[in-house]
């Protein structure tokens, strides 16, 4: 009797131990953090549910915060040892995040590839470049992007211009500003009823950079020289900002005073039909108002030298944290998620940058997809720096200053001084 009892006990204990160890090995909950963008949230949740069907022991927890709060909270959570497994990070933060040991190097076997080259071959040329440091890959693109020019067809028709005709697209910045003046509308008192064109205003440094970075490249302006000193006040940079950003203000085309700014929705004026042209990414149309949604045309951004185009390239990527205890599962899921390029483009407007994405059916159904695909090849990533946030802020401050009448040279001198100060403290 006693021995039976003992045997039962042993049996039960070993069963429990088995159960425990198997649950330790398999049951995994992956925490995903993403910046707030409802279509992407829904899509990722849907893909996560599909993944759980295939791997019943992997479940997900999803959280999103708006762009500004998102990074603050992410850093706080990582510092507190509460890092999520999968996070959404802009490419310009990679140098900083990798140097602080926040990101995990890509687990190639977990993604079913043998080498970096094999993974890169799955993507458009250069798509992974912004996510690599010292030849190591730290993330996968979720949103590979460049900016294009969005134009309101109806506004141009009113001004007697058929903007669906490529011949009428602005090739140079000069063309753009001339068009802007033609299409803008003022009331008798001289107040704007409708802007022709405007830059983004009142947003963070990253937003500003999306619009000035291609221009700086076109003018041969560098934020930092090869020795790591600030070069943002060089003659090339002064010319770049004078001919484009400041000109919008001095020519009375637009400027901060005319923008209806809501700190995150930079596109509000275009979306509501109060502005005829703007620069934005392929993700923007879902945000347009109903009238504008039916009426827009996508063109390449203007160039200084149209024969030698230069554009922006950025990558709002997904990656795995070094603190994650489930890195192989996280990478495996990430590969699963981002390999559905068609689904991403259809549901969220994001281009995941997989090879030949522009030939897919989803791309054919997306207005301007061929423009984005073409422009991506001329793109370059932002300058790399450990103190990008402070440097981007310094340039943003300079822009806001010369928009109010300070000379471009003076404003950029100050930015250069601030950038050098920040870098000298590192």
């Amino acid at each position: 009797m006693r021995s039976l009892k003992a045997r039962n006990w042993v049996f039960a204990a070993s069963l429990a131990a088995l159960g425990l160890s198997s649950s330790l090995a398999n049951a995994v909950e992956l925490k995903i953090w993403h910046h707030t963008y409802p279509p992407a949230e829904e899509f990722i949740k849907k893909k996560a549910a599909e993944y759980t069907k295939l791997h019943p022991d992997v479940t997900f927890q999803f959280q999103s915060d708006p762009h500004g709060d998102y990074e603050v909270k992410l850093l706080a959570a990582i510092a507190a040892g509460e890092a999520p497994d999968l996070i959404n990070v802009l490419d310009y933060l990679y140098p900083k995040f990798v140097s602080k040991g926040i990101l995990a190097e890509a687990d190639l076997p977990a993604m079913g590839v043998k080498s970096n080259e094999e993974l890169e071959a799955l993507y458009s040329p250069g798509a992974l470049k912004g996510l690599m440091i010292d030849n190591k890959i730290y993330g996968l693109p979720e949103e590979l992007n460049t900016f294009a020019l969005f134009m309101n067809k109806e506004h141009f028709a009113e001004a007697g211009i058929d903007i669906t005709d490529k011949a009428n697209w602005p090739k140079t910045w000069d063309d753009l500003f001339v068009l802007a003046k033609k299409v803008q509308k003022k009331d008798e008192a001289g107040n704007f009823e409708r802007l022709g064109f405007n830059w983004v205003w009142g947003l963070d440094g990253f937003w500003y950079a999306m619009e000035y970075w291609p221009i700086l490249n076109q003018y041969g302006c560098k934020v930092l020289d090869d020795a790591g000193k600030a070069a943002i006040n060089s003659p090339e940079c002064v010319a770049a900002f004078t001919d484009t950003w400041q000109r919008v203000v001095t020519d009375g085309i637009g400027g901060p005073d005319y923008a209806t700014v809501n700190p995150v929705n930079a596109l509000q004026d275009f979306s509501d039909g109060r502005q005829s042209m703007m620069m934005a990414g392929i993700w923007s149309p879902p945000l347009f108002g109903e009238d504008v949604k039916q009426n827009y045309v996508v063109a390449p951004i203007p160039q200084k030298d149209p024969a030698n185009p230069k554009t922006l390239l950025y990558n709002y990527s997904m990656t795995v944290t070094a603190a994650s205890k489930n890195q192989p599962e996280a990478w495996n899921f990430l590969r699963f998620l981002t390999s559905d390029g068609d689904g991403y483009l259809r549901n969220t407007g994001y281009v995941t940058g997989l090879k030949d994405w522009e030939k897919s059916d989803a791309a054919k159904d997306t207005i301007g997809a061929e423009i984005f695909a073409d422009q991506l090849q001329y793109g370059s990533y932002y300058w790399r720096s450990l103190t990008w946030n402070e440097e981007g802020k310094a340039i943003k401050d300079a822009i806001e200053q010369f928009a109010q009448g300070t000379s471009v040279q003076e404003a950029l001198d100050q930015a250069a001084k601030q950038i050098d100060f920040v870098r000298s403290q590192q």
Binding site: K100, T260, T387, E400, Q418
Partner: protein, 287 residues
């Protein structure tokens, strides 16, 4: 008996003391400690001596921010004190209707700060109601939040609206404690209104005036939400008060050492003003 009562005192006070020590004093000391280090939240702090403090002298963001803070604090106090003084004084002369006015004037103070900030942000919009009102009287629209010349004032105007309501009530309470006979006597002596105010009201109200000045200063230095929501410190840092700079330095630039150094400066400033307040209050009690 007395001895045991002394022990009782400590027993009664201990829970609060522990609480404050844990969540207020200790963090202050910790902030001092971090201010002597280079610290990015991810790797262990590195001791750097007083270099964070030395650096303040050449840190233009910080110096600019100090000036912006001082400007904001000064202008949030100046007209508000006068206006709330007058409103409080007028309210104290009323009898039956005082309660109603008091409630209506106090309403702005009960709105959540974030609501207040959001409402004003839209009211200050280029196409918002404030510019509409200006346009109807023939004044051109003002770029309230997008121009460095106007943005600090937009925040100051808003703070007037918000603070007048609160300080009016404090002044009213002060006025109600004043002895009536002083004024009667002055009136019998044939003193004019301005003379009465200058020679009788203001001296009698001095403690309340001092109190409001100090409260307004401390509240001005502690401001954060309004700037964060309306301008995020912009344009071109025109509204980047110290609390905003601390927040950005800590959580956007990940430089905890520098952020803590700024914090110590802010804390020092507030403590100095606080000590003045304590000194004034206790001085008043002795009098």
């Amino acid at each position: 008996m007395v001895k045991s009562r002394k022990n009782w005192a400590l027993i009664f006070i201990a829970p609060s003391l522990l609480y404050l020590a844990l969540f207020q004093l200790y963090p202050v000391l910790y902030a001092v400690y971090i201010s002597f280090h280079k610290y990015d939240l991810m790797s262990p702090p590195q001791f750097v001596g007083i270099s964070n403090y030395i650096r303040l002298a050449s840190d233009e963001q910080f110096l600019r921010s100090l000036w912006v803070t001082a400007f904001y604090v000064f202008w949030t106090i100046v007209p508000v004190i006068g206006l709330s003084f007058i409103l409080g004084g007028l309210l104290s002369t009323l009898n039956r209707s005082r309660g109603v006015w008091r409630v209506l004037l106090y309403l702005p103070s009960i709105l959540p700060f974030v609501s207040v900030a959001l409402v004003w942000k839209i009211m200050f919009n280029q196409r918002g109601p404030i510019n509409d009102a200006l346009n109807t009287v023939g004044v051109a629209s003002i770029p309230w939040l997008t121009n460095s010349a106007y943005a600090p004032w937009a925040l100051i105007f808003m703070s007037w609206w918000h603070a007048t309501s609160y300080y009016t009530i404090i002044f009213l309470a002060g006025f109600l404690t004043l002895p009536r006979d002083c004024f009667e006597a002055a009136r019998l002596d044939g003193a004019g209104l301005l003379q009465t105010i200058r020679h009788i009201t203001i001296p009698l109200m001095k403690p309340t005036i001092v109190l409001v000045v100090v409260l307004a200063t401390v509240n001005g230095l502690k401001a954060f939400v309004f700037q964060q929501v309306l301008t995020d410190g912009g344009p071109a840092n025109a509204t980047q008060i110290l609390t905003i700079l601390i927040y950005k330095t800590a959580f956007s630039y990940l430089d905890m050492g520098r952020a803590s150094t700024y914090s110590i400066v802010l804390f020092g400033g507030i403590m100095a003003l606080g000590l003045i307040q304590i000194w004034l209050i206790s001085g008043r009690r002795d009098a």
